[in-house]
């Protein structure tokens, strides 16, 4: 999503910022840091605005370098967003953020939208955070995502094309592999993009290597 938006950012005169939440870095992914990261991306486009520079200089002198609080960051972020034509904020895997920060995060985003109604927000997450999203954005448009058979077929075909032992492959086998993988995926959800999952590798090995 970030790439699709960025590709047209210049033509459409929009600014894009985003962040991937991750179980592994939950402790760092507090609302303050997330909002800070959004702000950082938005200001890195142009020069650092004066109000931000002043806040930093002020913070540096106090208490041996005080980090900004959420309220400070929100203030700065609102000024920066208001100064841009339109801002898109993308947050991936809201559910991987610690639950106690999800509400705070959504509240902060709602704050931004109220201040700058042109702002667009793209969120992804498991179905259970839908309630949280709708509590803050009752009119949020929800698109259910499931694994797309065409995407998976294309991906498997690409992997088969790159197989290091093409001589072990026959047309029938190839058709079989694609069919079995698609059948399996229609029953379970597997991560078919990026690195193949163990279940995909098993299917692949069983059909591809054992019969060769």
């Amino acid at each position: 999503m970030i790439d699709s938006l960025c590709d047209r950012a210049q033509e459409d005169n929009i600014a894009v910022a985003g962040l991937y939440c991750d179980f592994l870095s939950q402790q760092d992914q507090i609302t303050t840091n997330i909002m800070g990261a959004i702000l950082k991306q938005l200001v890195s486009r142009g020069g650092i605005p004066d109000h931000l520079r002043e806040a930093f200089q002020k913070g540096k002198k106090e208490f041996g370098g005080r980090a900004p609080r959420l309220a400070d960051l929100m203030g700065m972020l609102k000024i920066v967003i208001a100064s841009l034509p339109q801002v898109f904020i993308c947050l991936d895997a809201l559910d991987e953020c610690l639950q106690k920060y999800v509400s705070e995060l959504l509240e902060s985003l709602r704050d931004i939208v109220q201040e700058s109604p042109r702002t667009r927000i793209f969120l992804t997450g498991r179905p259970h955070v839908r309630g949280d999203v709708q509590r803050y954005f009752s009119k949020a448009v929800v698109i259910p995502i499931s694994s797309n058979p065409d995407d998976i077929r294309n991906y498997v075909e690409m992997r088969l094309d790159r197989d290091s032992e093409p001589e072990a492959m026959s047309n029938d086998l190839r058709v079989d592999i694609v069919r079995v993988i698609l059948e399996k995926i229609s029953n379970v959800s597997v991560k078919a993009f990026g690195t193949p999952t163990p279940s995909m590798m098993c299917t692949y090995q069983r059909l591809g290597v054992d019969s060769s």
Binding site: G36, L39, G65, T124, G125, V133, A140, F193
Partner: protein, 63 residues
């Protein structure tokens, strides 16, 4: 800049970008829901698009 946040989302983005298989998730860009969200002239009502799905269906890799 580190003062604002220690997080560096660009690193992760680069990883996703590199691993993404071309064409994955393009269907989303064609939906009415996406277009309305993307090109609406604003209005706080239409601000949020939420893609919801189980682990591993490819939410992160939507283009």
């Amino acid at each position: 800049m580190r003062w604002l946040s220690p997080l560096e989302p660009n690193n992760r983005h680069q990883g996703v970008r590199t691993e993404r298989f071309d064409g994955v998730g393009n269907w989303l860009l064609e939906t009415t829901e996406f277009r309305e969200w993307r090109y609406s002239e604003g209005g706080a009502d239409k601000a949020v698009l939420f893609c919801s799905g189980n682990p591993g269906v490819g939410k992160t890799y939507l283009r």
